[in-house]
Symmetry: C2
């Protein structure tokens, strides 16, 4: 039996609305009073403001962390979209609601890839996320309360600082050198600060460009494995982009029970695909699915299918080789030109892979001031301050350089310009 | 000057790893102790467990909230992908990092749409999110602390209950009838519970299927507009799917300063596209961008461009008309068959639009028990309990029926089967 068989339909008239609105008391919302406490941890990203300044076409920018436009797989994605959306078996799956757990075949493929690293992952160990940033956010959502202590490298990835500060994290830091995190200092720092989470980028660190040595990885895994109350977030967006030397085992292969391994297609395919993943012990992964349900229901199955298609179409290894070759040449050009044009007081790191190198200036050069004078020379980088979780002073005398986005010609011109800005800064 | 010109490359040997691992102390992580406090608010979604039970092909399921497979725009998305990924001007934009603020042309289109509703939105009022669920989560992240009081309809959308419980919300409730939220009760409830957020679905309520009357909308807007410490989340995923009568003004058009209006393409295009949006005052929207940065950097520009292409290709109005015609017929079939086959003790709502209707049984029928016996008859629905934020008892004698996913033939067979289960339950 119906409550009512037919419903009167209301026609909203101008008068309806006007007559009422004249009587209304409208009090504006007091916004600052409304936000949740965690909003105190929100701030405009300094790097975004910086990137806006570098958007002019005359500026050669080493500031962003973008893959090269000419290497984006536009054709491959287009082909994959045509396949996925014309096959009767896949087209509705791509467009419908999907499983929070992620698209099975993609997860199985990622498990195979993990096995190459000596990690016996099963689908229950894998979560698909909105890029690796989504995985960083979700792991924070799972583990960080207001005041939770997190140990990070100094410098470290600023997107993590931003996400976890919002969720309430406090940071303690560990320095890095050319061999990555200075693991010898780890036991002392753990004892002093009792961090619950250690966030690390062992391969081709962003922003520092360095790679953690095998000895340190083994030592690191040994230390964290002895604690039942420490987890490791191993962020590895650039792992496949090694330009020389041999692959080192990821932390997750040395400390399986403690590590959340984060990967993404942003640097080997395209950031626009927004597909990242996390490989971790099954218990927290199952818990994480419950959180993803509330956060976004699921990551687009369509995008996951495109990624799966490109991964398994056979062209992915060629694609990675091609990216490596081009980025290696760009890195070499940047290193060579820096050697030629930078004053001898300036030092920088030597990246075996990834997208970045890290420059340290003498104490009398402030990198934010330098940034401004570099802009006048039509060249840009990111000043170091944004990469220090606790505003360490080193940020004032360091900056990050990206070598993946600009052509070799642009790199030659840009480094010459930057050399000029550096010499001027040193002289003043 | 380089720190070092060449880097020794470490080759991980089996011995390296084995010899070390023998000495290692490996302590498993104590997971339950590790989670953030908010994880207490996480639980497996009851509806997901229920949906798993209904996945067998012999079962006619009215349980899910899925758009019809045959109406998914597979061809249109395919065409749009080919256009976006072959045009030089757009293909790199689609695949690169995108703006946290969302894709400009899509936001401008959405502003135009809002102007039809008498809402003078500008791009600074619009946020693009990972589906409307993403917008629900983000608004919770912005405004909900542990213990924050939220007023919701009883029953209400379970994805919101799940997301906001995780973020710490407490709920107070307001009943609904055939004209939507019983707004007369609102002043008393506000005075008693001081909710900071009111979540409402005025159009074609999920799960109840009812629509808030114009009188109540005006009254509702008047009440909330008088408070500087109340915001409204107006969730409107089905607004365009009206099968009769005339469009009613959304709350956002009556209480602009207080309302976050949530929309999505999930029901008019495809859930797999994961594009939702939020229209709200500029101040909290700007703050929200900072939160999105940390959460996922940005929503896939590629998906946003596909959506924009379909919106502006001219076929969207036809598409919506087609969806409406098919869903209207399915609704009518379901209503007619229920009238025929359901015992007279059973009552249900009459939906003017959307995907659902809501059934109430006499007190001696428990809807979870009924669900089990319905499964034996190869038909399914969602028992009401999941839709009650505070576990209200009404959940035991109510259930939700979806009429968008099944064909008219399936609806006829399914309702007959459900009528049988109902008669058996009444007789026992």
């Amino acid at each position: 039996m119906l409550f009512e068989n037919t419903f009167p339909t209301h026609r909203p008239t101008e008068e309806d609305l006007m007559s009422e609105s004249e009587e209304k008391i409208i009090v504006p919302v007091n916004w600052p009073k409304m936000y949740a406490k965690r909003a105190e941890g929100l701030s405009a990203s300094a790097i975004r403001e910086i990137l806006k300044l570098t958007a002019k076409p005359e500026i050669i920018s080493f500031a962003g962390g973008l893959p090269a436009n000419e290497l984006l797989p536009c054709k491959e994605v287009r082909k994959a979209a045509n396949i996925v959306l014309s096959d009767k078996k896949t087209k509705c799956v791509a467009m419908q609601y999907g499983a929070t757990e992620g698209y099975g075949p993609l997860k199985e493929y990622l498990c195979e890839r993990m096995r190459e690293y000596n990690v016996p992952a099963e689908v229950g160990n894998v979560t698909i996320t909105n890029g690796a940033q989504g995985a960083i956010f979700l792991s924070g959502l799972m583990f960080i309360d207001r005041g939770t202590m997190v140990l990070v490298e100094s410098p470290t990835y600023l997107g993590m600082i931003q996400a976890w500060t919002h969720l309430g994290a406090k940071f303690c830091t560990i320095p890095i050198d050319k061999d990555g995190m200075m693991v010898d200092l780890l036991p002392g720092i753990i004892e002093k600060y009792h961090p619950k989470i250690i966030y690390t980028m062992p391969d081709f660190h962003n922003p520092a460009g360095v790679t953690m040595s095998l000895e340190r990885r083994i030592k690191f895994a040994e230390i964290v494995s002895a604690h039942d109350d420490i987890i490791v977030i191993e962020d590895n967006p650039y792992g496949k982009l090694r330009y020389e030397g041999e692959h080192l085992p990821p932390i997750v292969s040395l400390a399986k029970e403690h590590t959340f391994y984060l990967g993404t297609v942003s640097k080997i395919m395209a950031p626009g695909l927004r597909v990242g993943w996390m490989v971790a012990p099954k218990e927290p992964v199952a818990k994480m699915f419950q959180a993803i349900q509330g956060e976004c229901l699921f990551t687009s199955v369509f995008l996951q299918m495109l990624v799966h298609n490109i991964f398994t179409s056979g062209a992915i290894d060629e694609r990675i080789l091609k990216i490596r070759n081009i980025y290696r040449k760009r890195r070499d050009t940047m290193l060579r030109e820096m050697e030629k044009h930078f004053p001898k007081e300036i030092v920088w790191t030597y990246p075996e892979g990834g997208l970045f190198l890290w420059v340290t200036t003498p104490g009398n050069i402030n990198s934010l001031e330098l940034f401004k004078s570099a802009l006048e020379e039509n060249v840009a980088f990111v000043p170091g301050a944004s990469f220090y979780a606790n505003g360490e002073e080193k940020g004032l005398h360091t900056f990050r350089m990206n070598f993946s986005f600009s052509s070799e010609k642009q790199i030659r011109t840009g480094i010459k310009r930057l050399g000029l800005a550096l010499r001027k800064a040193l002289a003043s």
